[in-house]
């Protein structure tokens, strides 16, 4: 009885300790340090003249281009077009992926139908499907979105399926004994029980979506998009613009990770102790 009370306070204690700010600073430094090392090496190579300056710009040049392209609205326009495609494709993948994955986990028939198909299609690189999608659905955004949705659905399907399979039998038994019907077993037990895996699947799916989208934007001949910016810049040896595009992709990825996925996880599976913070 009082053993429990001490457990709770012992767990909360580190949060209020004075060493917290210092350890936070240390962890920020640990995260930044590798970037500083790479940055310094980059500058050395850029300044040394091993490559022509046009092909290997200094960080200042890239930063200058980044701000110039941002200020004149070109970079944001590219970024927004890409983001819309990314999120549309990813939303498709999320809805269909989670649904198919859960169906496979819940029904033997669905598992028998989908598993062989999914197992064969999943390892094929997304780009291999691109020509087919372009012929079927034409050049442009629509094809890119469909392809992104298709390719990024696979990790979501696999993880949702595994998640449903990993739901503890004892939860199901407890819920049964407390009178849960099939529908509420699903919404109140299977879904939250599988959530850690589903979130992992969505995260992997988003990474997959980025990978294929940037490449497809060039092949699908879309007028705007970061992929288009990066590939298009090659023709004019605009390596600074390419790098600026890459920086934007990294920033968007980081923001989605920190502001969306980590927030959702912290509010759910981490708070529930199902996944370590």
């Amino acid at each position: 009885m009082q053993d429990a009370a001490t457990t709770i306070s012992a767990r909360e204690a580190p949060g209020h300790s004075p060493g917290r700010a210092a350890s936070r600073l240390r962890s920020i430094w640990r995260n930044i340090f590798p970037f500083i090392v790479v940055g310094v090496l980059w500058e050395i190579v850029a300044v040394s003249g091993i490559f022509p300056a046009r092909l290997f710009p200094t960080i200042e040049t890239v930063a200058g281009t980044f701000f110039a392209l941002t200020a004149n609205g070109i970079l944001p326009h590219h970024a927004i077009e890409t983001l819309i495609r990314l999120l549309s494709g990813f939303a498709l993948a999320g809805v269909f992926g989670v649904t198919i994955g859960i169906l496979m986990g819940r029904s033997r028939l669905a598992e028998d139908i989908f598993l062989p198909l999914v197992s064969i299609c999943a390892p094929i690189p997304g780009l291999a499907y691109t020509p087919l999608f372009l012929l079927w659905f034409g050049l442009g955004s629509f094809s890119s979105i469909l392809l992104v949705g298709f390719v990024s659905a696979f990790p979501i399907i696999f993880n949702s399926w595994t998640g449903v399979k990993a739901v503890k039998e004892i939860w199901v038994r407890s819920a049964h004994s407390m009178g849960a019907d099939d529908r509420r077993m699903f919404t109140h037990v299977i879904l939250p029980g599988a959530l850690p895996y589903i979130l992992t699947g969505l995260r992997l799916g988003l990474a997959q979506a980025w990978r294929v989208l940037v490449a497809v934007e060039m092949l699908a001949a879309v007028p705007w998009g970061l992929g288009w910016l990066i590939f298009g810049a090659r023709k004019f040896l605009n390596t600074d613009a390419m790098l600026a595009g890459i920086v934007v992709i990294a920033l968007i990825g980081l923001l989605l990770e920190k502001l969306v996925f980590q927030k959702i996880e912290n509010y759910t599976v981490v708070r529930w102790g199902m996944v370590a913070a």
């Binding site: 053993d3 004892i170 939860w171 038994r173 407890s174 004994s177 407390m178 009178g179 037990v189 199902m274």
Partner: protein
């Protein structure tokens, strides 16, 4: 609260080597509000029998009747507490876990919160209503599980070694608490354990089972006055008697804990 009849129950497992009889021709009756412990060596099928009573397994022969009605599956007339701490839903707070059964029954939120709080007070966890299970100790989690099984007011409580994974001191506290809860609620309780002292401390009656296949070996009434003192001469005498029943099935001194 209601009587239970266990009538010639036989249960078989499918194994690669063929059918193995886990429980054979087990019969006994349990009176209303009676606290019955089933003890026996591992492999005697005591947990299996509990799962049959809970409706999770179907018997190969025989039947179980609760208040005259034959058991055909799980039902809300029985509350189940397992040994595994993981039985709680980690995504629900203590209060959320306890109100689950009430929610399934369609009881309004205000009412089920009130009942769940009351149940948590019964197991002395009123301060932890909003805690998630992973912030609770093993003993507290098992208390939430007991409150959860009682909340929707089943007439029978089935408990499968609920305190076996706890340390000895916490287990003593929990036994005391369960005895109080039982006195307050007067449920019919079937409690599976391999711990002789625990059985004598809690039970009105102890069913001793023997293994391979699981059969009832003895049915002993414990007439000690409550609350019971585990250090009294009568208690120890009772313990010796029960161990003798288990003695030729388990090794000589292995029946205690």
């Amino acid at each position: 609260m209601v009587p239970i009849a266990i009538d010639n129950v036989t249960l078989e497992y499918d194994t690669p080597a063929g059918k193995v009889t886990g429980v054979k021709d087990v019969s006994f009756d349990i009176g209303a509000s009676e606290f019955v412990c089933i003890v026996g060596p591992s492999g005697c099928g005591k947990s299996t029998l509990l799962n049959v009573i809970a409706g999770f397994l179907a018997p190969a022969a025989g039947e179980i009747r609760i208040d005259g009605k034959t058991v055909t599956g799980h039902g809300m007339d029985r509350g189940v507490v397992f040994q595994d701490f993981a039985q709680l839903f980690p995504w629900r707070t203590a209060l959320g876990n306890v109100s689950f059964g009430l929610e399934m029954k369609g009881i309004a939120k205000a009412e089920r919160d009130r009942i769940a709080r009351e149940q948590l007070r019964l197991v002395k966890l009123e301060k932890f209503v909003d805690s998630f299970p992973h912030h609770l100790s093993g003993g507290m989690q098992q208390r939430v599980a007991i409150a959860r099984a009682l909340a929707y007011n089943p007439s029978v409580l089935l408990m499968d070694e609920p305190f076996a994974a706890l340390d000895a001191m916490t287990r003593d506290d929990m036994q005391l608490l369960l005895a109080d809860v039982w006195r307050a609620t007067r449920k019919t309780v079937i409690y599976v354990t391999h711990n002789v002292a625990e059985a004598i401390y809690l039970a009105d009656r102890v069913i001793v089972m023997s293994a391979h296949p699981g059969t009832v070996q003895a049915d002993i009434r414990i007439d000690l006055p409550r609350p019971r003192d585990p250090l009294s001469v009568e208690f120890v005498e009772c313990q010796k008697q029960l161990m003798r029943h288990l003695g030729h099935k388990v090794s000589g001194n292995g029946a205690g804990h």
